[in-house]
């Protein structure tokens, strides 16, 4: 990221907000007594369900819900007897909420300066994609209206929620989606920021900072799959688009950048369409009969298998379909993404475009396109899209393409996008609104006692911001962050308080030396805090020099002592070593600086590194040979 790019995104009017999810480190799940943990053996049993949209509390159907009903998926859930009970199967109402999880959520909300709810209400957030067998996620707003400090300003925290995690997706092919239920119902906090982030780099920075604050509790889970971020992005003139399930902070910056550029691309596409001024029509037809003998193998094969082929023309889009709208992605990709998800058509290629260059045999020939155009009643230059699959799905696909083309006139459609492996995104669903929220009729409201909140407030851990303040003048903020990220800030502080050693050197030992030793195969877990305090006390007392610390650490790790490494070497010995080495040089080194460097090195080695650098330097500097050279130089 360079300064220029940052300015560019500010000019685009980038607005970005995060929804940061962390699993809580509890023994049991949120609404039942199953143990938390993931399993990878063969599932013990399976159940099958289907989801139907229901009304919201305010009497509306949610847009996403209806779209997902259109996809008509059969949902299979894999069960393990030891990690899933009838609650997760949606065959038993929820049990009393996990108090431990609730406490952690309150603690996190307090750390984020939120106002804690006086009474919490369990809500149902509808998800008809099947990821939760009930068709909704039980979620609770625990705190609202908070903030964190970031780069000298406040980023607002809209809300902190406690909720249950969803299933893990195993596969999604055609009309069957398979989920594994072990992760289901694991307690999770969701931290929602306001759209106060202005650049892609800030997005990952804020995410990192929230992560640091949450980890300060010591009660969030670590490791793959325990952290997931949703990133909301919009630019001036664009729309809020949510990128779901980002597994790593490192990806956020790129995703935000790509999404901002995608929205910019879609807006310029809209300009082109508007400039052309033509009314957009999307005539469609069934045309399987035209491809019985097609030179395009996939289409011919589909017709032979009794599948339908549908065509839709998009006049007014010539030359636009394959224009790049974001790095590596075109409007045609947008269409294919939508069809893949909503119409459940995932045989590649999902769509065939008349204006696409493709090798012979994989696309219909000019005469075939001509026949389709005639049937559609469109001109020679108008692009045509073909889609094949079961009749009903093809119908859905054609109307989805028409809908997406219609949306192109508006600019950026309101949607949720999924993260693909390469850091790209693809359509996932229409962005849900507040209408998918519904009170959980299975649970009663829970009052949060002020005394309980006060008790948690009293024992809050130190936030990263406070650490930075504490270490101001001692360490650079980046070093503090490094200590926090490596979870050794507490250790750092304790050793520092107890030994009064050099903070920079201590931080270096903790963040660089110890990891390096671990990489070299040293069992650094055996190096306990007590031993470190003793070592640094020894060091601060001038008993062991800096350079010997790594060796001492290796000794500690293997349970041996390091007294013989101590700096109890007298002046006499050092001076003698200087003299001996000076004689050995015997005037061969003429340059004073070179001679100085050589002598310091040689003496250190000869004294087994037990003498501190300062003492060796002093002894070498005061040797008469050097004085002599210096006088010569002056002359």
């Amino acid at each position: 990221m360079n300064g220029n790019e940052e300015t560019n995104f500010r000019e685009l009017g980038l607005r970005c907000g995060l929804e940061v999810h962390y699993q809580l480190d509890t023994q049991k799940k949120l609404f039942c007594h199953c143990p938390v943990g993931l399993l990878n053996r063969r599932p013990d049993a399976e159940i099958v369900r289907h989801m139907r949209p229901t009304l919201s509390e305010l009497g509306e159907y949610d847009g996403t819900a209806l779209m997902e009903f259109k996809t008509k998926k059969t949902v299979r859930y894999q069960l393990y007897y030891d990690s899933v009970c009838t609650y997760e199967m949606d065959d038993t109402p929820p049990f009393v909420i996990n108090r431990e999880a609730l406490k952690i959520a309150v603690e996190i909300a307090l750390l984020l300066n939120c106002r804690i709810a006086d009474e919490i209400h369990v809500s149902r957030k509808q998800y008809l994609d099947g990821s939760i067998p009930t068709g909704f996620q039980r979620t609770i707003a625990v705190g609202v209206n908070g903030w964190i400090r970031f780069s000298g300003r406040k980023i607002r925290i809209v809300q902190v929620c406690l909720e249950e995690d969803a299933c893990r997706e195993v596969s999604d092919r055609g009309h069957v989606i398979v989920f594994r239920t072990d992760r289901l119902s694991t307690p999770l906090v969701e931290v929602i920021t306001a759209p106060d982030i202005r650049t892609p780099a800030e997005a990952s920075g804020v995410d990192r900072e929230i992560g640091r604050i949450l980890r300060a509790t010591g009660k969030v889970r670590r490791g793959i799959g325990t952290v997931r971020q949703d990133v909301n992005v919009s630019i001036e003139g664009g729309t809020r688009v949510e990128i779901k399930g980002v597994p790593r902070t490192g990806m956020i910056e790129r995703l935000v950048r790509v999404e901002a550029l995608r929205q910019k691309g879609l807006l310029s596409l809209r300009e082109t369409i508007t400039a052309r001024g033509a009314e957009i029509k999307t005539p469609s037809c069934d045309c399987g009969d035209l491809f019985c003998e097609s030179e395009c193998a996939p289409l011919r094969e589909s017709v032979r298998r009794g599948l339908s082929v549908g065509a839709v023309a998009i006049p007014g889009f010539s030359g636009i379909l394959h224009r790049r709208i974001s790095p590596g992605k075109t409007f045609a990709d947008e269409l294919a993404g939508r069809v893949r998800v909503i119409a459940c058509l995932d045989d590649e290629p999902v769509l065939f475009f008349s204006d696409e260059k493709a090798p012979c045999g994989s696309r219909p020939g000019p005469k075939e396109w001509e026949a389709v155009r005639r049937r559609l009643g469109v001109g020679k230059k108008d692009p045509v899209v073909l889609v094949r699959g079961p009749g009903e799905d093809v119908e859905t696909a054609l109307s989805e393409i028409a809908a997406r083309v219609e949306e192109a006139k508006e600019g950026v459609p309101n949607e949720t996008r999924q993260v693909l492996v390469g850091g790209e995104t693809d359509f996932e669903r229409i962005l849900p609104g507040p209408d998918r929220m519904y009170p959980d009729t299975d649970s009663s409201p829970i009052p949060i006692a002020e005394e309980d909140v006060a008790a948690i407030r009293k024992r809050l851990p130190v936030t990263p911001d406070r650490w930075r303040k504490r270490c101001r003048g001692m360490l650079k903020p980046q070093t503090v962050d490094q200590l926090i990220d490596m979870e050794c800030i507490d250790r750092f502080w304790k050793i520092l308080k107890n030994t009064k050693c050099d903070p920079k050197f201590l931080a270096y030992t903790l963040t660089a030396t110890l990891p390096a030793l671990r990489r070299a195969g040293c069992d650094i877990l055996a190096v306990k805090e007590k031993a470190l305090v003793k070592l640094f006390l020894f060091h601060a007392g001038g008993n062991i020099i800096r350079e010997m610390i790594p060796r001492a650490l290796v000794r500690i790790a293997s349970g041996r002592g390091y007294d013989d490494l101590s700096a109890d070497i007298d002046e006499e010995t050092i001076l003698k070593a200087v003299e001996r080495n000076y004689l050995r040089v015997n005037g061969r080194i003429k340059d004073r600086r070179k001679l100085f460097r050589y002598l310091v090195g040689a003496v250190k080695e000869e004294t087994g590194f037990r003498a501190s650098g300062r003492r060796v330097v002093w002894a070498v500097q005061s040797h008469e040979g050097l004085w002599k050279l210096q006088t010569e130089e002056r002359r």
Partner: protein, 461 residues
């Protein structure tokens, strides 16, 4: 300001809302010592405390705010919710069978009730069509709301009304009857209807749901579709319960109304035929009979409705150490019949002999069933049984206790003569007792056993 406008609020909360002229559904900004909240004021559950105001924030989440922290409330608007399924007229097709859906309440058609915070029954044909449009592909549906109550509140009046309505609908040409019913006492109603509605020419199908229809994973729609298909096209002209077979969305089972029981408090596949196999498997487009001995659908309209009923009957679940006063008090309170769910083959302890003898002597009919649910009474095997027979306790073969209760009420509605009562109780009317129990009538698989696990691994639960 009316109490209605502040639904559910009492005490301090009500006072604060009144002070700032806030109504339920007001869009407000609440300022307090701890910050500002924006949202719509929701009705409060009557069972919840009187110290919090519930706000629906604009992101859809609900949150409770302590009235003690409120300093000021500014009303910014009003946004009343109209919880309504999009209604549209149910389409009719002269080629399709006519089915009447009777509504009694229960989870099958329910909506949120802010007053209690739970779900309440709701029911209208247009709503039903709006929520389950697939029904129109099956039949022409006419709906009649009889009551809107939870099934535990069903009683003789409701049973009689239902039976009489069924009679009228059949005579008026219905090709099948579906009854939406809460699941808790669905098997009680199924039993009593089996006695009150005899020789029906068409299927009478009770249906409900274990997951309310306000949840995406609800079983209501699937159950309704299966029930409608059974009523419209099924050949089994009996009182049936139509509910999930397995917990997966795969097929429903049809259970005969007199041998079925709710066996799990929350599972979808809670209804099980006891002591026999279910009558049929059903999907939204097929009924596959598993049994052959059922009453077949007829063209005539000659249904017999017999609703005579005496509710002075009690069902006593025996437990060791039961005291004689339990039986005595029933007799002293004028009960005409006692059904006992006895242990094992139909036993109670010795101290009950005397009060039971007294009951029989006073003309009270005492009928014995088994609390094991599966199996027959066999009172000649042990001395206890013989003693009880001697006293005049009538063993009811393999009739389920709840079914026996319903039958005894119905029989006592016809005669008080103990000998007649005994004869009628032992004469099966709607398959409530059977001469033989098939070997596959008692299949309660136990998890963990290798062969069962192998089965579960290969088939959907």
């Amino acid at each position: 300001m009316s109490g209605e406008a502040l639904e559910g609020y009492r005490g301090p909360a009500l006072e604060v809302l009144r002070r700032f002229s806030v109504r339920v559904w007001s869009d407000v900004e609440i300022q307090g010592c701890k910050g500002t909240f924006r949202g719509v004021v929701l009705p409060r559950s009557e069972t919840a405390d009187d110290e919090h105001i519930v706000l629906k924030m604009h992101n859809g989440y609900n949150i409770g705010i302590s009235v003690r922290s409120v300093e000021h409330i500014r009303v910014k608007g009003y946004r009343e919710a109209h919880y309504k399924i999009p209604e549209s007229e149910f389409p009719t097709d002269p080629k399709k069978p006519n089915v009447t859906l009777l509504g009694t309440g229960g989870t099958i058609a329910s909506r949120l009730d802010y007053r209690t915070g739970a779900v309440i029954p709701a029911f209208a044909p247009g709503e039903l069509y709006g929520a389950v449009p697939e029904l129109a592909d099956i039949c022409n549906l006419k709906t009649k709301k009889l009551f809107g109550i939870f099934s535990e509140n069903m009683g003789p009046l409701e049973w009689i009304t239902t039976a009489e309505t069924i009679g009228r609908e059949i005579r008026n040409g219905a090709d099948g009857i579906v009854i939406g019913h809460g699941t808790d006492t669905m098997h009680h109603t199924a039993a009593v209807l089996s006695f009150m509605v005899q020789q029906s020419p068409v299927p009478i199908v009770l249906v409900g749901s274990q997951r309310s229809s306000d949840r995406p994973s609800s079983d209501a729609a699937f159950n309704l579709r299966c029930a409608a298909y059974t009523a419209a096209y099924g050949e089994i002209a009996e009182v049936l319960i139509c509910m999930f077979g397995p917990t997966s969305d795969r097929y429903n089972l049809l259970h005969r109304g007199t041998v079925v029981r709710k066996m799990h408090s929350s599972y979808r596949s809670t209804f099980r035929t006891i002591g026999d196999i279910p009558i049929a498997m059903v999907t939204p487009d097929s009924v596959v009979p598993l049994k052959k001995d059922y009453r077949k659908r007829r063209k005539d309209r000659d249904v017999v409705i017999d609703t005579r009923f005496d509710d002075r009957v009690s069902l006593v679940y025996y437990y060791p150490n039961m005291k004689p006063d339990i039986i005595d008090s029933l007799v002293d309170n004028g009960y005409a019949g006692i059904v006992i769910a006895g242990t094992g083959l139909g036993h109670v302890n010795k101290p009950l002999y005397k009060p039971l003898k007294r009951a029989v002597d006073k003309g009270v009919s005492v009928i014995m069933t088994v609390q094991t649910l599966w199996g027959y009474t066999a009172m000649s095997v042990y001395d206890t049984g013989r003693d009880l027979l001697e006293i005049g306790v009538v063993p009811a073969e393999n009739m389920l206790p709840e079914v026996c209760y319903m039958k005894l009420c119905w029989v006592l509605g016809h005669t008080k003569n103990p000998e007649r009562v005994k004869a009628m109780m032992l004469e099966p009317i709607a398959g409530e007792t059977s001469e033989r129990e098939p070997p596959n009538g008692y299949v309660v698989l136990q998890g963990g056993i290798p062969e069962v696990e192998e089965f579960l691994g290969r088939h959907l639960l």
